[in-house]
Symmetry: D2
Subunit: 126 residues, 4 copies
Amino acid sequence: MSNNTVTLTGVVATEPRHLITAGGVPISSFRLASTPRRFDSTEQKWTDGDTNWFTVTTYRQLAINSAESIKKGDRVLVRGAVRVREWESGETNGTTVEVEADALGHDLTWGTTQLVRQPHKADVEL
Amino acid sequence: MSNNTVTLTGVVATEPRHLITAGGVPISSFRLASTPRRFDSTEQKWTDGDTNWFTVTTYRQLAINSAESIKKGDRVLVRGAVRVREWESGETNGTTVEVEADALGHDLTWGTTQLVRQPHKADVEL
Amino acid sequence: MSNNTVTLTGVVATEPRHLITAGGVPISSFRLASTPRRFDSTEQKWTDGDTNWFTVTTYRQLAINSAESIKKGDRVLVRGAVRVREWESGETNGTTVEVEADALGHDLTWGTTQLVRQPHKADVEL
Amino acid sequence: MSNNTVTLTGVVATEPRHLITAGGVPISSFRLASTPRRFDSTEQKWTDGDTNWFTVTTYRQLAINSAESIKKGDRVLVRGAVRVREWESGETNGTTVEVEADALGHDLTWGTTQLVRQPHKADVEL
């Protein structure tokens, strides 16, 4: 088991981007806005907390299917591992917070979906 | 946060059952078969482990949308809390292992879906 | 990553049992009582839910260290995979709900601990 | 349940810092280095991935007990919610990745601990 497991729900905040690596691996990624609900014990009600931003990345068959399924504005559920990367490029640097997803789906709290089975192409061809 | 959080993937093994409680709460439930993949270090390959069986239960709007979305044979991703219940009925007794889901969706590793937004009816009427 | 990940907190309800398999693998296990806290929106306060019972099992070095660390009544935090097993023995049958732990520790919400490093014996000798 | 749950194991990379807010809430925090193990299917063996860095923050009684328990170099297990914060201070800005812990303990894979129960002081005084 991974030493790092996260499960998130949230809103897809960008149109997903798709690419294929030089080695032939399909990758799909998008930004996810995840806003916690907190119980405010002073006010005695639930309120929105600050939004957390993640880059969600999928690989192989999950990337292929995500490319045809996920749109900006969709509500999703994602499970994976959190990757925190410090980067440097010339004089600027920063931090990227990524969720490397191993499972992803539309969150049925917000709507309905029908699953259309797809043959696994990732290991065969593209 | 709950003291008990679980995230599972698996196959829906029964047609979902839907009902509305006397208090007017929609509930939907189905059996989930979740089979782990293990790396066999002797054989140096991935194999299927024993299947684990859960009853997945959803409430309110998630139950309403699940009723229109989830079919036997679908691959899903579910997050929730595990409930282990010992029951007794006349001379028989047993144990039920339930996942009280707070998020549920089709697993895009296995196919594609389009999210159709649904108005929240659960708190209004049915 | 496992298709099944759970994280639980609770009270150790039995003295841990330790054994070594015929193949030489140390195993330690105990019963865990995990009681959820729920926010009761009618009463506007937090209350105890029903207790969930699990058998927590550890292997190898984690089993060896657990054997010297975990006592009945201790508060712990455990991460692992849920295993649901239907069993039959003669005319009786039942269900066992197990958490196969990959990480385990005392829950510091309830007390203090000092970590005493132990050499890894599991792969060497017992 | 939170819409964001993470469970991590790793090494405490800094001496924990403790403070009490103006409102009287004890807080303790430290940097955690969490290095994933990956199965390299080309080499057919497990290797270390890149290390992920998190700031782990605890509050109230968990902060008080952590202050007396956690030392730089300790191996720990932590459960909580990931918070991603973009900050700006004068001409510099950056991103902080925090785990707001709701449970924390020494990871018994690496050593042994004895739990010393502590009375709950957090809601009374300090």
